[in-house]
């Protein structure tokens, strides 16, 4: 089930955060879990910390990074409040 999983950087529209969430973090987690649940009939995600949200961004960028399959990333892009989801690159020292 890990085949094709990559780290995606997901941008969220802060103005679209539903009032039911009292923090960006909880909104991001809800969005992330909703996508994962759509892909898995059983809740097999979040086996360890690195299967969940890796980073939450709030200063130069609004959103989070998480491990997703391409299909999950596509599903993520369709979620309310998600502006973009794109895979990360690996950089090298110059």
């Amino acid at each position: 089930s890990d085949l094709g999983v990559r780290t995606y950087i997901v941008q969220m529209a802060q103005t679209q955060q539903p009032v039911v969430f009292n923090s960006h973090q909880s909104w991001y987690e809800s969005t992330f879990h909703a996508v994962k649940q759509m892909r898995h009939t059983q809740s097999v995600f979040a086996v360890n910390e690195l299967d969940g949200i890796l980073h939450t961004y709030s200063t130069v960028f609004q959103g989070f990074a998480a491990r997703l399959t391409e299909a999950e990333a596509e599903a993520m892009r369709l979620r309310p409040g998600v502006m973009a989801a794109y895979p990360e690159q690996v950089r090298q020292l110059h």
Binding site: R6, T7, I9, Q11, A13, Q14, E49, L50, L54, H55, Y57, S58, T59, V60, F61, Q62, A65, R67, M83, A84, Y86, E88, Q89, V90, R91, Q92, L93, H94
Partner: protein
């Protein structure tokens, strides 16, 4: 670093001395996103430093391998970001690398100390480049954010570090890392740097080491200051002598017993392969390719490429050789990088390499020696644009010239980790306090430190003003008075290699005029790229709709000029473009500037008005520059380019910008 402060004129004691006015950057905080730091190095001591600026919100993560108590009034932040790395590759192997801000590689310690290291006397690498080492802004505060690990630097971690650094309150971000060029909305470095710029943080990044080919420059967003690398007037010569008396100049940081006065048998590695190993692999001195019986007691000539330069030395030494000559191939040109080899060894350029190979082929018993001549100063010409430094045109937006600026990046001495040898090789057990390495990674923190000095001296300047000051005050002639040369060819270099030129920190403090840019200008630029609204909002979520009439990306009020004409071979009409620029007077209130333009043959460049009369400080005046060029038809896939300069001068300041015309 040793010697680069002198080479950059930062040790002068004139009344307007940048370092004095900026208090050596004491009020400025530089964030270095890299491999971490070795905090015990003398470069990070905090003696005679005042209290940490009250606005600082950052701190140091307390880990087993990096106690928070190691931080001080100099090193005020130390954090690490590994979740992206671990998610991709598995947990950090703590037997191989430190899961903390501690630098096990050396690169981050080097870049941090280059930007802002304290003065350390008698610094050297095994006796080479000895002197007082200091960073460009020697009292600036340092906050290190470790984002690079064994297998690379992961975007999600880099973006997290940008996020944290800006929240912590850094003023300058230095990032000597890069990868492929992608649209800005898919590039977390561009996105992170934009968010930083929006909050007033100056971001400098390395241009890359993929030169001398064109279109190789990276980190090309216009809100980033992109830094190319050049030599300084210091070298580490190591001369190859052949039995016929021919001599070839090479370079080396080898420190140990030399090869004596006599000549030694010489063999080309291509003729020393082990049974069953192809000659090509042997020519590169790849691990396990050399036959000890053929190389024992000889000097081995290896071709550059594939494995690390210092690793070739290790292979040659393990096979029982006496020494090594490392020859550039034609693709490498004449650019040389000095290395602290584990056996007597020197690097030579492609021409010398070819001649030595000819000598080996044509001589029955070829013999050679290597003479190590230590550290030499006053080298001419200098600076020379390094062969490896990545070149324009800008692959993403050719209307914005990249790189922006050049700084010292060849054979730079700065602090080093205590966990790795100067070669970085596992079998090399030497430990050093300072190391000499090369790359645009090394030039970038020079600019970061200089930007910190400017920020300290001119706290009201925006990141774009600082960048403009650095660019328009740069010089394009070397220490012989000739145009800056290109190490790859030996010919005259171009703005595709050096951008606006070589940094001149003292002149950057008093640029006279600056090209300022605000967030709204960048948004217009993004609209002009025909990015979708969704794509633009990835970079700036606050942006509204683009105007119905969108301009050209070349209308950005940038301190350099670049235009792209279609190759219209069938038409005879002149091709034209008009740039519009606004300059802000940061010099004396009453200043009159006149324009001087140097354009390429057959290209007409007119500036209107040709005189700018300022009556107030911070007054803004506009001008336009019209470029008329003949149509050109070139073979498919070919870019033609021509270069010029525009300079405004009031008799004291010279505000110079490169002009690039691409067909």
């Amino acid at each position: 670093t040793t010697h680069t402060p002198e080479f950059l004129g930062l040790n002068s004691s004139v009344a307007t001395d940048l370092t004095e006015e900026a208090k050596y950057g004491e009020d400025v905080i530089i964030g270095v996103l890299d491999t971490g730091v070795w905090p015990e190095r003398a470069s990070f001591l905090d003696h005679k430093m005042g209290p940490i600026p009250a606005r600082w919100l950052g701190g140091c993560a307390d880990e087993e391998s990096f106690s928070a108590s190691l931080c001080n009034r100099k090193l005020i932040g130390a954090k690490y970001f590994a979740k992206g790395y671990e998610a991709a590759t598995g947990p950090v192997n703590t037997t191989v690398e430190f899961k903390s801000a501690r630098d096990g590689e050396g690169h981050g310690t080097h870049t941090a100390s280059t930007a802002a290291g304290r003065m350390v006397s008698k610094a050297s690498l095994l006796g080479f480049a000895e002197g007082v080492a200091r960073g460009m802004a020697s009292k600036a505060r340092l906050a290190v954010y470790k984002v690079c690990w064994e297998s690379g630097c992961y975007d999600s971690d880099i973006l997290a570090a940008f996020d944290e650094a800006v929240a912590d309150g850094v003023d300058v971000i230095s990032l000597s890392v890069g990868g492929g060029v992608v649209p800005y909305y898919l590039d977390p470095i561009a996105i992170g740097a934009y968010g930083a710029m929006k909050k007033g943080v100056f971001v400098s990044c390395s241009a890359g080491n993929s030169g001398p080919g064109s279109l190789t420059v990276t980190n090309v967003a216009p809100w980033i200051t992109t830094v190319a690398a050049s030599t300084i007037d210091r070298s580490f010569p190591a001369t190859v002598t052949l039995s016929g008396g021919d001599e070839f100049q090479g370079t080396s940081l080898y420190s140990g017993p030399d090869l004596g006065d006599s000549l030694h048998p010489l063999i080309y590695a291509v003729n020393a392969s082990k049974a069953g190993v192809n000659a090509y692999s042997a020519s590169l001195c790849l691990d396990g390719t050399l036959d000890p019986a053929k190389v024992k007691g000889r000097i081995v000539l290896c071709d550059r490429g594939s494995n690390a330069r210092v690793a070739k030395g290790q292979v040659v030494k393990a096979a029982g050789a006496l020494g090594m000559i490392l020859a550039n191939l034609p693709v490498d040109g004449e650019g040389l990088v000095a290395d602290s080899h584990v056996l007597p060894a020197t690097a030579v350029g492609a021409k010398a390499g070819a001649k030595i190979k000819d000598y080996i082929l044509s001589t029955k018993s070829p013999k050679a020696n290597i003479l190590f001549r230590g550290t030499v100063y006053g080298v001419q010409p200098a600076p020379v644009i390094s062969s490896f430094s990545s070149r324009g045109p800008n692959p993403e937006t050719p209307e914005v010239l990249k790189p922006d600026i050049t700084a010292p990046g060849v054979n730079i001495l700065a602090a080093w980790t205590g966990a790795a040898a100067p070669t970085g090789l596992e079998g090399d057990n030497r430990t050093v306090e300072f190391n000499i390495i090369s790359g645009t990674s090394m030039s970038c923190p020079h600019i970061s430190g200089i930007a910190a000095l400017l920020k300290g001296a001119r706290p009201g300047w925006s990141p774009a003003m600082i960048k403009s000051a650095i660019m328009t005050s740069a010089y394009v002639v070397d220490n012989t008075g000739a145009p800056l040369a290109d190490e790859a060819t030996g010919n005259v270099s171009t703005p595709f290699a050096y951008g606006a030129g070589h940094v001149d920190p003292q002149r950057a403090m008093n640029p006279g005029l600056v090209y300022d840019l605000e967030v709204a200008d960048y948004i217009k630029f993004l609209c002009a790229l025909n990015y979708s609204q969704a794509a633009i909002r990835v970079i700036d979520p606050d942006v509204g709709a683009c105007p119905t009439k969108i301009g050209s990306p070349s209308e950005l009020n940038y301190p350099s000029f670049s235009t792209l004409f279609d190759q219209t071979g069938s038409s005879s009409a002149m091709l034209e473009t008009t740039f519009s620029r606004t300059v802000t007077n940061v010099g004396p209130a009453n200043s009159t500037y006149t324009v001087d333009v140097v354009g390429p043959k057959n290209v007409k460049i007119t500036v209107s008005p040709s005189i700018l009369e300022f009556t107030e400080e911070n007054q803004k005046l506009h001008y336009t520059m019209k470029v008329s060029a003949p149509p050109v038809k070139l073979p498919p896939g070919t870019i033609g380019s021509a270069f010029g300069f525009v300079a405004w001068t009031d008799g004291i300041h010279v505000v110079q910008s490169p002009i690039v015309i691409n067909w």
